[in-house]
Amino acid sequence: MFTSNTPENKKEMLAKIGVSSVSELFASLPEGLRYPVLNLPEALTEAALSRHVRELAAKNKPLLNFIGAGCEEHFIPAAVNALSSRGEFLTAYTPYQAEASQGTLQTIYEFQSCICELFDMDVCSASHYDGATALAEACAACLRINGKSTVLYSAGLHPHYKTVLKTYLKHVPGLKLEEIPLKDGVTDVHALKEKLTEQASCFAAATPNFLGQLEPMDEISSAVHGAGALLVSVVHPLSLGVLQTPGQYGADFAVAEGQSLGNAMNFGGPGLGLFTCKKEYVRQMPGRIVGVAKDKDGQRAFVLTLQAREQHIRRERAASNICSNEALCALNAVIYLTLLGPQGIKEVAQLNLERAHQLKDLLRAAGHKVEFEGPFFNEFVLRLNAPAKTAVKKLAKKGIGAGFDLGRVRKEWADLLLVCATETKTKEDLCAYVNALEGFVYGK
């Protein structure tokens, strides 16, 4: 498949090379190891493949989805995929030859600009693998910047982000990773202050946190900076249409999962790691960055820049080993933000707020108990009268994704259900959800 050398072509080419068969070109491979038996399924034509893969896809069941927990369903305008699936973007690679890659380079520059504006941060990289790896790389950057040895993080971080953070950092010599507990669904600032010793390099917290609650970032920021440590904030990019920005509360690094900006859920991958920081830390920022340059006529052009940080130049002294990132997902994000504009992003964020709060009110009216009283964006926690696991199972049978069973994180959270409602949900959807959850009212 997909090769186009005819037997005649091959003959000519082999003659030119001066060998009699293609297998001669593999003579440097140990002889006994060449051409092993491969037990693979039969080859499919495009037509048969199309039918087969559609049947496979149909084994996924559509859900009326109220699951968030780090990956959310949002509306994606058709123009996003129509543009990003153009072969000129899709089948190009890293813009090493800048003169023949100005399209990709300018879109990355515009992406960096839009994200900086949305976050109120100084600089942004061309993208990371996902929110979790961006967080880990940000904490690693903090360790390099201040040479201290303790990374503090809030218990309110996404549990998978915590695992990735530990996996990435556990081999740093002398490192201490410490979790700051929650109180009433948000970081216990008093406990944080006690742990902010001289050795504290940084504190990482998510807002909204994994329980959907907004963290008291002003208070956290002054505590962290007062102790001479750095603040790493994990944000929800879409929420920043209305919520306080990391720039406002003085985050040194702000990272995020950017899937909510124009990218489908795709079972969680590819994600889009967003990585921003204050400009004084740009040389510790891992990953590709696009900047403005001039061509020899003095015309504006775009190039990959500050490459002295990167692995292909610095090898073992590089800030990170990252090279391929999630460029196409970043392109989706910048097209999405360009289509929405400042007013649109605000309205979509408002709609998320509105839907989630409507759902909370409807559930309360039906007698449900909402676990935390603090401010939230589009996700909140319900306490049920039975394990959340049971509710998830029961609603799945009705074609509803009930939410995330928090019992998967902690045993004592077994009856807690994390529920997300985005702008995609109508009033009817919300009512259908409340009805489906009827038998699970806490106290009944």
Partner: protein, 477 residues
């Protein structure tokens, strides 16, 4: 050519997409202290303005669909259009990573079958699809090795041996995983110098990282012996599979004695490169290291597919969710279009094309190591004949002839390196046209070098002064 930024075309009040009008102000739900103060400076454009803006930007790119893209080490093969359609099917796109497993059986089955096919092709015992890119796969592999040694309480192994031909990611990865990098020089034939390796191996060696075929485009002919040396020292052999396009269907890395390796689904397995991702970098492991792979793995139990996170020896997690599933669909589709006998056609045609280019160019741009190559050839320039024309100039001039440039100045051990990887999907006519262009450029360098020095002449911008960008970085509007 017009090169305005979107923000420079912005007109207050224009909208590209209308959403429902929210009923209440944010203050109705949140305390004032939680709210954003200043609106972000995002472009305001109509949908048509935005469509035209990005369409016109796309036209400033060379890409595989329009141009031969012989970027060495990147395997820019054709990305079949059927997979563009199949990878975005609604049920795949709408699958939530925390959906009840009965609602995502299609995705899980696809991932499981892909794992199984990769195991068969490489001969390795287990595969994880979790890593998001090649470098991410490397880090996964090296951390897997680390978890293996930690479990054996073998704490004295602190070094990773890397040949000087390695991709920069190999030493950078080893450093990220907390290892000291030991570089070894290659032999005069471009392959690993066994004496250098022997001298570097010790009880401190954790892993030897080899790219196979290596980055000068040659197969490590002593691979079996090397594997034995590595294992005798108690270390593990890691294979960087970025160049697996040369071997697919022709040999199984497990047979070489490889313990761990990564594959690049966006190279060998026909997923598009997307201007720099998303990729996918699955990691395969031999049975003795498989328990240390990141969790979870997809398993099949009683005819149902499930994510098994119960892996007590696992190194942890490399990414929030299980892999770049949308990229995996494409690799799955690709492999389903081959069978056990046709798979080798990929490697055979890739190797044939690379050798053809190498031989046809020997008078203008000779190969640095004069031997049959695998899937790519590494050429150099004839300094004495080319009037100060450098590899960069040749690369820029190629753009004028309608070709993207090869990888240049890599590997580092080859002076003025030009690394050409044609891939199996190019036909003889496109190779001939490319060869002719390079011969012309050679002649130009001899007779009218200024034309080459001043290239490109045909692009939206002239030669860019890259240093000007780093002097006073302008990284956003």
């Amino acid at each position: 050519m017009e090169n305005k930024l979107s923000i420079e075309k912005s007109v207050p009040g224009r909208r590209g997409v209308r959403v429902e009008t929210p009923k209440g102000a944010p203050q109705a739900y949140l305390p004032a202290g939680c709210l954003r103060k200043r609106a972000p400076r995002l472009p305001e454009m109509s949908e048509l303005d935005a469509v035209r803006h990005f369409t016109n930007l796309s036209r400033k790119n060379y890409c595989l669909d329009s141009h031969f893209y012989p970027l060495g080490s990147c395997t820019m093969k054709y990305n079949p259009k059927a997979y563009d359609v199949l990878s975005v099917l609604e049920p795949f796109a709408q699958a939530h990573p925390f959906a009840p497993e009965e609602a995502v059986q299609g995705t899980l089955e696809m991932l499981y079958e892909l794992q199984e096919m990769l195991k068969e092709i490489t001969g390795l015992a287990a595969f994880t699809l979790q890593p998001a890119a090649g470098a991410h796969g490397e880090l996964t592999g090296i951390l897997t090795a680390r978890a293996y040694f930690d479990a054996r309480k073998d704490k004295k192994r602190t070094e990773v041996i890397v040949p000087d031909t390695a991709h920069g990611t190999n030493p950078a990865t080893s450093h990220m995983a907390g290892y000291t990098v030991v570089n070894i020089a290659s032999g005069p034939d471009g392959c690993v110098d066994k004496t250098a390796l022997k001298n570097a191996l010790s009880e401190r060696t954790a892993v030897v990282m080899l790219t196979v075929p290596n980055t000068v485009g040659l197969f490590e002919k002593d691979i079996r012996e090397i594997a034995d040396m590595v294992h005798a020292a108690g270390a593990l052999l890691y294979m960087d599979g970025a160049n697996f396009n040369a071997l697919i269907g022709v040999a199984k890395p497990a047979d070489f004695g490889v313990d761990l390796m990564h594959l690049n689904l966006h190279k060998t397995f026909a997923a598009p490169h997307g201007g720099g991702g998303p990729g996918s970098g699955p990691v395969g492991a031999a049975a003795h290291v498989a328990p240390y792979l990141p969790k979870p793995l997809v398993e099949k139990k009683n005819g149902k597919f499930t994510l098994n996170g119960k892996m007590p020896k696992s190194l942890g997690k490399m990414k929030a969710f299980y892999g770049n599933a949308a990229v995996c669909v494409r690799a799955y589709c690709y492999l389903r279009q081959f069978d056990g006998t046709t798979l080798k056609n990929i490697a055979e045609n890739a190797v044939l094309n690379a050798n053809y280019v190498r031989v046809c160019l020997k008078d203008a741009f000779p190969a640095y190591f004069d031997a049959p190559c695998m899937h790519e050839c590494v050429l150099t320039i004839q300094k004495d004949k080319m009037n100060g024309v450098h590899t960069t100039d040749v690369a820029k001039r190629l753009l004028d002839f309608g070709f993207y440039a090869p990888t240049i100045y890599f590997p580092l051990i080859v002076p003025e390196a030009i690394m050409i990887e044609p891939t199996e999907t190019e036909n003889k006519e496109s190779l001939d046209a490319f060869i002719l262009a390079l011969k012309r450029i050679f002649e130009e360098a001899v007779s009218q070098p200024q034309t080459v020095h001043d290239a490109p002449h045909s692009q939206p911008v002239k030669r860019i002064d890259e240093v000007s960008a780093a002097r006073e970085p302008n990284l956003r509007w």
